[in-house]
Each structure stands twice: as C-alpha cells, then as structure tokens.
C-alpha cells in the first residue's frame, strides 16, 4: 500500500483541534457555541475512530494503521503511531465516552464553559495519543500532557476540597512517571539509541536492571491503575471532581495504567514480571478483597464507587500476572466493561448530585418514588457493578477467575469473593438511596431524568448489556495480539 489516509492521526488530533477551537470561543457569553462545537468535535472524533474497528485485521498480532514521521533527530525520536488489538478497543472506548461526558456537562456547567468543554476534548485527543504511541518519548509526552487538563478540571470545577485533590492527583502521578522517564532513557542507552517501543520488546536485559525497570514502570502504572497501596489519590480526586471529570477519570484514565502494563512491563521486562508475579498477584488480591471491604463502609456515594473501581481494577492486574491468554483477555474485557459501568455509575450519582447537591447516602432514600426511570437505569448499572451474569461486569471477572483457578485455587477463591462483596456494597448503597420511604422534603421535590440524561444512560445501558450478552466482537480483535504478547512474555530476555 503506497498511501493511506492517516486515520490514526485524525483520531488523535481532531479532538485536540476542536478543543482549541472551543477554547477560542472565549468567555461565557458564547457558552452555547462552545457546547455545540465541542459536541460536534466529540461526535466527529467517535466517527473518525470507527474505521479503526471496521478496517482492523483481527488475524494479525502486529501493529496496524502505522504512521512514522521523524520528530526530532537529535535523540532519534519519531512520531510513530500504530494500534493493535490491545490499544484499539481502548481508543474506541475513549472516543465513545467523550461525547457522553460533553452531553453530561451540557446544562450543569455554567462557569467557564468553553474551558471545561475544551479541556475534555483536549484530554480525549491526548489519551488517544497515549494509546497509539509506539515511540517512548511520544508516549511520555502524551502521558504527562494528560495530567494538565485533568488537574484543571478537578481544580476549577471540583468540590470544596478540590485544591488538595488536584495537587495530590498531579504529584502522585508525576512521581511515577518521572521514574518511567529514567527507565526510558536507560533503555535508550541499552538499545543503542532507539526510543521505539517495539525495539525495546526485542531487547535482552539482565535480571537486575530488568527488575529496576519493572519497578520504575510499576510506580508509573500502579499509581494510574491504581493498585493498593498507591490508590489513595483516587477517592480524593473522584469525590472532588465534577461528574464529567469523575467519568473520564474512572472510565479512561485508569485504563492508561492497565495499558502500560501490557505495552511496557510485561514484554520489556518479562523475567522480572515472572519474578515479581507473586507480589503483583498479592497486591491485586489485596485490592480486590480489602478495598471491597473499605467500600462497604463508605457514606459518600462517589467514594464508594471510587473504592469499587480500585477493587475492579485489581481484577485487571490479577489477570495480567497470571500469564495466560484467558487471564489477559479477561483483564482487557474487564477494563472496557469497567469503563462503561463506572462511567455510568458516576453519571447516576451526578444525576442525583445535580438535584440535591449531596453525595451522602444518608441524605437520600425513597428516590424510586419520584424517579422511577432513573431507578431502573441505576439498578441495571448497580447489578453490572456487582457482576451479574448478562451484564458486561460478569464477563471479565468470570474470565479472570477462570484463569486464576488454573494457577492456584486460593487465588480464584479470594478473587471470587468480589462477587459477594461487590454485590454487598453496591446493592446496599442502592437500597439505601433508592428504596424505602421518601427520606426528606428535598427528595420529595425530585424530578425524574431529563431526555438528555435519559439518552446518555440509555446508550451506556445498551453498551453494558451488549457486552454482557455478546462479548465476541470485543474479544475477537484481541486474540491475535494477546497471543503475540504472550510469546514475548514467555521468552526469557536475560
């Protein structure tokens, strides 16, 4: 093929260009045009991403839609992008979530609208860039750049304690990524002057440096996932962030960490990964069990969902470090499904928060009497969060549990407790918020969801059910890539 339309670049840069255009609309006098432009940009971004799926060759485990341009020669850094079966679904997820977030903030955000909408579009393009980068420095640039919009989103439109949460979020993530930068520079030296991620996959590295590289990557990715014990920034960030910020944080940004493990840690440091697998599994199981218990006692709905995110992402890291195809595939499915479910859960809390300006479970009760349609949607997502068969939440967890039982019965046993704990904290919260007598005069005043809210929740509901009943289209594109990855991981690189 001689010339191909640079679809991937379009997917990365189109939201960014629209984001800048939205920022250029200036102050709140032009709020409506800012909203409309950003929605157009987000929808075009999603449409642009569709060919990535439809033209994807799922039989191939290599990179597709590759674009390669010299960026700066001084350090042999290239604009090198491409996708495989791991990054493609994540890019689609990101492009899918962005319009929903824009719509979710449509009426709620009244202050500095253009900056809010622009930040989300910029974020969307930057995150696509992270998933598509095949050059370590390009990856790093996108990775760090994604901090800036989120920092501002939390800090400007967040709750009362937003400054603390925003700075904690920024510094925590920066700590991990700076060490990752050192690892990249080290790999640049060892590989004789290359920043290509695919070159790193072929690199032979002795065990001690491999472990150090693994640890540097681990700090960067574990903070993002987040794994226990570096998860403490997440509840703070979620609680303070505006609804849209929480959705993007949970649905998209956490996936960056999971993606990083698959793209960097496992194939670049396979021996260290095997060497430290027990530790990783232990940390994952602690996240699954212990964080679930913490979620149980939360009085704040957003905090509860934040902790449940940590627990669910524990499944993802657990799946990765079992080193078999079904585990990794299950982890990938779990990431996508968590994107839908956690996004939907935060949107549901947002719906309530917009009306009552409280996130405390105790302030609610009997909401079903006033908001029956909302209660039905919330029920579906709560069930999905608890891992009910037929919803997307079940598929990933089930696959990971299956994979872990092959490795060790007790891994599977501990992981499976999530089905109980997850149901407990989610459904108990649901019961206290939705059922019972109408708790207060404020609840008595509630109106059911608007058409705008209905549309968002309905789209997510379809996604959750579709992935739960027929996950094949998602898993099918991953097979070849994950097999390819496992070949790398099982070969020693000492």
């Amino acid at each position: 093929m001689s010339f191909e339309f640079p679809i991937l670049s379009l997917v990365i840069w189109l939201p960014i260009v629209f984001g800048i255009a939205v920022l250029a609309t200036g102050n709140d006098r032009n709020a409506n045009s800012a909203r409309v432009i950003s929605l157009i940009g987000a929808i075009l971004g999603f449409i642009a991403a569709i060919p990535l799926y439809s033209n994807f060759n799922s039989a191939s485990g290599t990179m597709q839609f590759v674009e390669h341009l010299v960026w700066f020669e001084r350090f042999n850094v290239n604009y090198h992008v491409g996708i495989d079966g791991i990054s493609m679904p994540l890019i689609l997820l990101n492009c899918f979530i962005t319009p929903l977030v824009i719509v979710a903030g449509w009426e709620v955000i009244k202050d500095r609208v253009s900056q809010y909408m622009g930040a989300f579009l910029l974020m969307s393009g930057i995150v696509n860039g992270v998933f598509a980068s095949l050059d370590a420095i390009l990856f790093y640039v996108f990775w760090e750049a994604s901090l800036i919009p989120m920092f501002l989103i939390i800090g400007i439109w967040g709750g009362p304690n937003r400054v603390y949460a925003a700075i904690k979020f920024f510094l925590y993530t920066l700590l991990g990524s700076l060490l990752m930068l050192i690892a990249f520079i080290y790999l640049y030296q060892t590989s004789g002057g290359s920043f290509s991620i695919q070159d790193y996959h072929q690199l032979a590295i002795p065990l001690t440096p491999q472990i150090l590289i693994f640890v540097a990557f681990l700090l960067a990715f574990a903070v993002k996932v987040p794994m226990w014990p570096v998860h403490t920034w997440l509840p703070d960030a979620h609680v303070e962030a505006p609804t849209g910020g929480s959705v993007v944080l949970a649905a998209i940004l956490l996936k960056l960490g999971g993606y990083g493990f698959l793209r960097f840690s496992l194939p670049i440091a396979p021996d260290a990964s095997h060497y430290l697998a027990d530790m990783m599994i232990a940390l994952s199981l602690i996240a699954v069990v212990y964080i679930s218990l913490i979620a149980l006692i939360q009085a704040d709905m957003k905090k509860l969902i934040a902790y449940s995110s940590v627990a669910h992402m524990g499944f993802v890291t657990l799946g990765f470090f079992l080193f078999n195809a079904i585990g990794i595939e299950g982890a990938m499915v779990q990431m996508i499904s968590h994107g839908f479910i956690s996004g939907a859960m935060f949107l549901c809390v947002g719906v309530l928060y917009d009306r009552l300006h409280s996130r405390q479970i105790a302030d609610y009760g009997g909401v079903v009497n006033k908001m029956p349609i909302f209660a039905a949607f919330f029920m579906l997502f709560a069930m999905a969060n608890a891992g009910l068969p037929g919803t997307s939440g079940f598929v990933g967890e089930f696959m990971v549990i299956m994979a872990s039982i092959k490795t060790n019965f007790w891994y599977a046993f501990l992981a499976a407790t999530t089905l109980i704990f997850g149901a407990s904290y989610t459904l108990w919260m649901y019961k206290r918020v939705i059922f019972g007598a109408v708790a207060s005069p404020a609840v008595q005043q509630l109106n059911d969801i608007s058409k705008r809210e209905f549309a968002i929740l309905a789209i997510l509901a379809i996604a959750v059910l579709w992935m739960g009943l027929y996950p094949y289209p998602v898993t099918e594109v991953m097979h070849a890539t994950i097999d390819h990855l496992l070949v790398h991981v099982s070969n020693s690189k000492l």
């Binding site: 920092f151 800090g155 937003r162 700076l178 060490l179």
Partner: protein, 481 residues
C-alpha cells in the same frame, strides 16, 4: 621592534558596542529629561547592530586574535546572539516598570549595555584575564543596577550584599587563577589545556586552584552552597533588574564555565566532575525545598533558579559534547522561561504597587485569561511537563547524565524536580482555582503584549518542535571544541 596591529574583525561587535555605549550616554545627556526614548531607541539599535555584526561575522572556524586572548567561534556567536535578544526583550518588558518608578535615566541604559559588553567579552575570551575583565564589567554594572533605586532601603541592602559577596567570589576566582598560573605558567586557555595534558605541572597546586575556580563559578551561578546572595538580591532589586540579573547573565555564565572548565581544564575532568556532582545535588535540594516555604514570588523564583542551575551543572557532568549541548539547550530554555515569568510579574505591578507576593497571582485567570494561560505554560515548563520546552531541557540533561553512567543522579534529579513541581503548581492553583482579590485591570503596552505572547508561544512551540534548538546547541558545541 615593529608593532603588528591585531585583527580587530572578530571583535567588531564588542568594539561597536563600546562606541555605542558612549554615544548613548552622550545622546541621553543632550536629549535631556522628557526625551528618554532617544536613549531607549538607541539602545535597541545598538543591540540590533551588534546582532548584525555578529551574524555577518558568523563562522564555523575558531578565530583567535589579540595574541590569543580573544576568540570568535560558533558557540560565542550563538551565545552572543541569544544575549542580544534577551537584553532587548528585557528592555521591552521593563520599560513601563522602570519609567513608572522614576528609574528611566541614561544610566539605566548605559549600565545595561556595559553589562552586555561584559557578557560578550566573557563569552569570547580565551584567556583567564579577559574572562575576568568581562566578568567584572558585568558584575560591577549589575551591582550598580541593583542600587539604581537610590532611596529604596531594600534595594541598597541587596546591592551591598551582592557587592560584598560578589567581590568575595571574584577574589576566589582570582586566587584560583593565580594558583593555576603558578602551576602552569600560562593563563591562555588553549596553552593551559596543553600543559595540563603534558603533565608538566604540579597536580596538587592545580587541584587547589581548581577548587577555588569552581567555588567562584558556583558563586556566580548561584549554585548551593554558594547561593546565599541570590534570594536577597532577587527580592531586593527592582523587578526589572531582577529580570535582567536572572536572564542574560546565565547565558554568559554558561560560556564562562565552558571556557574555564571545559576548554581550559578539560583534562582535569575527573577532578571537577565530582565537585559539580556535589554542587548540582545540593543546588537541586536546597533550591526546590526552600522554594516551597517562600511567600515572596521573587524569592521563590530565586530558589527556583538555584535548582535550575543545579540541573544545568548536571549537563556538564557527562563531559562530552552531548552533555554540553544539553546544558546549552537547558540554559536557553531557562532564559526563555525566566523572561516570561518576570514579565508577567511586571504586568501585575501597577503605578505605586509592587507585585511581590505569590498571592498577587490570585484569580489571574479571571482578571486576564490570556496572561494566565501564558503563565500556565511557563509554570508547566519550569516543572518540566511536556510538551513544553522545559521538559526537553530536563530530558536532554537527564539523557546525558544516564549516558555518563550516573543513573542514581538522574533519579535524584527527578525526585527533586517532583518536589519542585509543588511550588509551580501552587502558582497555577492561585491563578485558576482561587478568586481574585482585586478587580484592578491589568494594563500593558501592546509591545509587551505581543512579546509576552510570542514568549509563551515559543515555550510551547519549541517544546513541540525542539529539533531546531537542539540541533543549534549541538552545532555550537561541536564547532568550538
């Protein structure tokens, strides 16, 4: 004995500058009060003329003249062009500030030009004495500039401190040079390198001399533990002067270190490497940690400078053209960021009001979204977040450090810059997350607006496309070694 006149051509820009300084002084005297713009315009024309002369005489050869005391090479030309641009920007940024505070006098311009001449001589010298003369010309002009606001107690105090400590540093430097002379019998940079290489000199005396020279350099660079003067001077000096002190002289200091340590005493790299490691780590630690505690923005930026100088020194540690060019890139990036940051501070100042505290940034995004956005870029760049230029500066230096085998040093450097991230983020927090305390409009002339926008744009654009500047830095170093 017949007298052969030296080749004046390589020093044409210096000679032009010297003549023009006298003309500026005289012209200002005859133009008198109320027509100060004459001196201002003449100063800008001088810088432009120097730039032209330097540009026209640009050469990839290394040309020595005045019996080898003066050198013109690619690095000198590039550094000088940067110095002219920086000084010119300083003048544009500070014009309104200076005239509001009654400092717009002929002396201001002539002192700035003399200081610039000092920098040019420093950059181009290939003899320890010329180096010293250039340094003193720069330093004495700076002392006088700090004290320009005669009736201000803080400024006078700052000038005194600057003078006393600066004189001490010069003493150190001279003492070190005299020891080097005692050991080798020469002060020519190139002869010195040969003699040290041939090991015909006393190593012990040389090392002692080197210690003094490095201390002197650390003083001038404000690297810890010789940094004490910087916070007081930055705070005490009028902001426009702080801008000047904090920007262009760093470029000259880079040239100074290159001539003294790399070209002159490059054979003793093993000796000065260890000293620089200590200076760099201490500077990054002291600068970043102390900056957190500051509530005065100028003081905070002084500590930030100290930490950046630590990073700059890291570039020299790898002792190859890769490392030196990283350091050059770093210093250019640093100057660009400093210019913008102080320019924003000066736009916050009004007649009779000094923006001194970091709280003065409160709510800037509501008062002036555009300046707030530029400051956002600058702060992120100072933190080292891509895609701003500050990231590539740090990246290039770290790469050189890892290349030299000091992985631990790179880890230490990034951990300190993580600490540093906090106080830059605090400025962003004040601008974007807090409400403004005053609704005073922010007025600035259109030339400042345009230049500041260009400055912010450069921080971003050179970050997205760093190749040109990186290539230039490498070219400068490779063609002069």
């Amino acid at each position: 004995m017949n007298f052969i006149p030296p080749d004046f051509a390589p020093a044409s820009s210096e000679i032009f500058m010297l003549i023009m300084v006298c003309i500026v002084m005289l012209a200002d005297l005859s133009a008198g009060e109320g027509r100060r713009y004459v001196a201002y315009l003449l100063t800008q024309i001088t810088l432009l003329g120097c730039a032209l002369l330097t540009f026209l005489s640009f050469t990839t050869d290394v040309i020595e003249t005045f019996s080898g005391m003066f050198v013109d090479d690619a690095m000198a030309d590039i550094l000088k062009l940067m110095v002219y641009a920086t000084v010119s920007a300083v003048l544009i940024y500070s014009h309104a500030y200076i005239s509001d505070r009654g400092m717009l006098k002929g002396e201001f311009f002539s002192l700035i030009l003399f200081a610039t001449l000092g920098m040019m001589v420093m950059i181009s010298s290939s003899h320890f004495l010329t180096l010293y003369i250039g340094l003193e010309l720069l330093s004495l002009s700076m002392y006088a500039l700090v004290a320009l606001q005669r009736d201000s107690v803080v400024a006078t105090e700052a000038a005194m401190k600057f003078f006393v400590l600066g004189a001490l540093a010069s003493g150190f430097l001279l003492y070190g040079m005299s020891m080097v002379y005692g050991a080798t019998g020469t002060l020519h940079v190139s002869h010195l390198a040969q003699i040290i290489q041939s090991e015909a000199s006393s190593k012990e005396v040389l090392v002692v001399g080197l210690v003094f020279i490095v201390s002197g350099i650390a003083f001038k660079l404000s690297a810890a533990p010789f940094h004490m003067w910087a916070p007081d001077v930055y705070q005490g000096a009028p902001t426009a002067i702080t801008l000047f002190i904090g920007s262009a002289p760093k470029l000259a200091a880079f040239g100074f270190v290159m001539r003294l340590l790399v070209e002159g005493m490059g054979e003793m790299v093993a000796d000065w490497q260890g000293m620089l490691v200590i200076l760099a780590v201490l500077s990054m630690a002291v600068g970043n940690i102390a900056a957190i505690a500051q509530s005065n923005i100028k003081r905070m930026l002084a500590y930030s400078t100290i930490s950046h100088m630590g990073f700059l020194l890291l570039g020299f540690i790898s002792a190859d053209s890769n490392g030196y060019s990283s350091a050059l890139f770093y210093v250019i990036a640093y100057v660009l960021m400093t210019l913008g940051t102080f320019a924003v501070i000066m736009t916050l100042c009004r007649y009779g009001f000094e923006a001194e505290n970091i709280d003065d940034f409160k709510g800037l995004s509501k008062r002036n979204p555009w300046y707030a956005f530029i400051t956002l870029l600058l702060m992120l760049s100072l933190t080292g977040i891509p895609p701003m230029i500050g990231f590539y500066a740090k990246f290039a230096v770290l790469q050189a450090v890892v290349n030299a085998g000091y992985v631990w040093l790179a880890v230490a450097a990034v951990l300190f810059s993580l600490i540093g991230a906090f106080y830059y983020l605090r400025i962003i927090k004040l601008m974007y997350f807090d409400e403004p305390e005053t609704q005073e409009p922010i007025v600035s002339n259109s030339d400042v607006k345009i230049l500041l926008s260009a400055n912010g744009f450069a921080v971003l654009a050179l970050g997205i496309f760093p190749q040109a500047l990186m290539g230039l830095s490498l070219y400068a170093i490779q063609n002069s070694m």
